[in-house]
Amino acid sequence: MTIYLVIALLAVVGLVQATLVPLVAVWGVFPDLPLLLVVSWGLLRGSRQGLLWGFVAGIIVDLFSGAPFGAATLPLMAVGFMAGLGETIVFRNVLLLLLAMFLATVVYDLLFLFMVQISGDLLIMKEGTGHTVEWSGSLARVIGSSAVLNALLALPISGGMRVLDRRFRHQGVGRVGL
């Protein structure tokens, strides 16, 4: 039952991410809601929950994305897990929270590009064509701005997640799996 709730929530967020969010670009980039949610939840509930949320959110993002399957799932799982290592510590300090979200975005984007590169190389070997990655251009033009934007949104998103956490913690909902 609880896992269905998580899936439903992340499916809605994934849908919004693939439709409305790209229309509100700032500095040429748009916020990454699934990443914000996964990292916030990991920071609140620990590594196992971060990992699980990363898995569900990643599958949904991969369904909507033109990138190879798994390119979002594995990085989101990794980032969710890593965020969980800062459970209860990061939320004590606003600056730490902003820094955590900034770093999480950089790590996620680099892992995403790595996944695209690996699968692209495999595709090129197999089919002669595939995804390519421009590391320096992506770092300079996209990842930095994206990390700053996500860090700025960390406060409202994590605030919302805390409300969700409090509400479902009392009801015993949200402690899913693992």
Binding site: G14, L15, Q17, A18, T19, V21, P22, L23, A25, G28, V29, F30, D32, P34, V61, F64, S65, G66, A67, A72, D109, F112, L113, V116, G120, M125, K126, E127, G128, T129, G130, H131, T132, V133, E134, G137, S138, R141, V142, I143, S146
Partner: protein, 282 residues
């Protein structure tokens, strides 16, 4: 005792006074008294009548106000309905204009068998990542769409189909870093490869140093490589990066298609792209 007798006489006295008044009036002696009374009464009457008129006016105003308010509400409702209608009609007008433009494009390229499609990107289909540039269309295999088919609008090249489902397809935009299109400039016929960049502004690479490329030149597909038909507009050169030590020069290309506001595209279904050969030994 005397007072008691007087009290009994009052009705008779009053009747007598009325009769006396009647007699006085008949005798024409009433007018001076009437004039005297009128002089005192008229201002009062006037004041009272004005007051009544004002009260009446007020009640009328209140009634009018109520009616006006009701009328206003009706007009506001009507206005809202008409505004909605205008928005709807404008939407239809925009859609019709888009379709007309696409039709013009189709008529000006009669050699292509063109399948019209609505992009659902605005509703369900843009890529969720900042690092990828794809859009999702609402037509797929059932409509005859296949992988690698070129996608265009009346303004130019959009990209090519990268994935196809039964009723959806995904387009790799020319602004994605994985996209590369063989291109030629309009004036000097300089050839190169238009490739996407992470910031969404493509560049034309591998232009031989000897070729002249200028800002303002338009860039078209060259047809080389067989991935896209010839003569489809890609964009305009906005900057040229030339270094004497390099073998090739590079130009920044501003696409003519507005990728942020894509609504409808055309898929060229009769063009058969040359599939990339797998490397030998695979």
């Amino acid at each position: 005792m005397r007072r008691e007798r007087l009290r009994r006489l009052i009705p008779f006295l009053l009747v007598a006074a009325v009769i006396a008044g009647l007699i006085v009036q008949r005798a024409g002696l009433w007018q001076p008294i009437e004039g005297l009374l009128s002089r005192a009464a008229v201002p009062l009457q006037k004041g009272i009548s004005q007051f009544v008129a004002q009260v009446e006016g007020l009640t009328q105003t209140a009634r009018d106000l109520r009616e006006l308010r009701q009328r206003n509400e009706e007009l506001e409702a009507e206005n809202a309905r008409l505004l909605l209608e205008i928005v709807r009609l404008r939407e239809i007008e925009v859609e019709a204009a888009l379709q007309r433009d696409l039709l013009n494009f189709a008529q000006s390229h009669p050699s292509f068998d063109i399948q019209g499609a609505h992009i659902v990107g605005v509703v369900i289909g843009r890529d969720p990542s900042n690092l990828q540039r794809y859009v999702t269309l609402d037509v797929g295999r059932k409509a005859g769409v296949a992988r690698n088919m070129p996608v265009v609008t009346n303004r130019g090249l959009v990209g090519r189909i990268s994935e196809v489902g039964d009723s959806w397809s995904r387009v790799l935009l020319i602004t994605d870093v994985s996209s590369s299109v063989n291109a030629v400039t309009s004036s000097s016929r300089a050839t190169g490869l238009v490739q996407g960049r992470p910031d969404g502004l493509p560049v034309m690479r591998d232009i031989p140093q000897g070729d002249t490329v200028s800002v303002g030149d338009t860039v078209f597909t060259s047809g080389l490589g067989g991935n896209f038909p010839r003569q489809i507009l890609i964009g305009q050169i906005t900057a040229v990066e030339r270094n004497d030590t390099d073998l090739y020069q590079t130009a920044i290309v501003q696409p003519t298609v507005d990728f942020n506001h894509l609504e409808m595209v055309l898929i060229i279904t009769d063009f058969e792209p040359i599939e990339d050969e797998p490397p030998k030994g695979e």
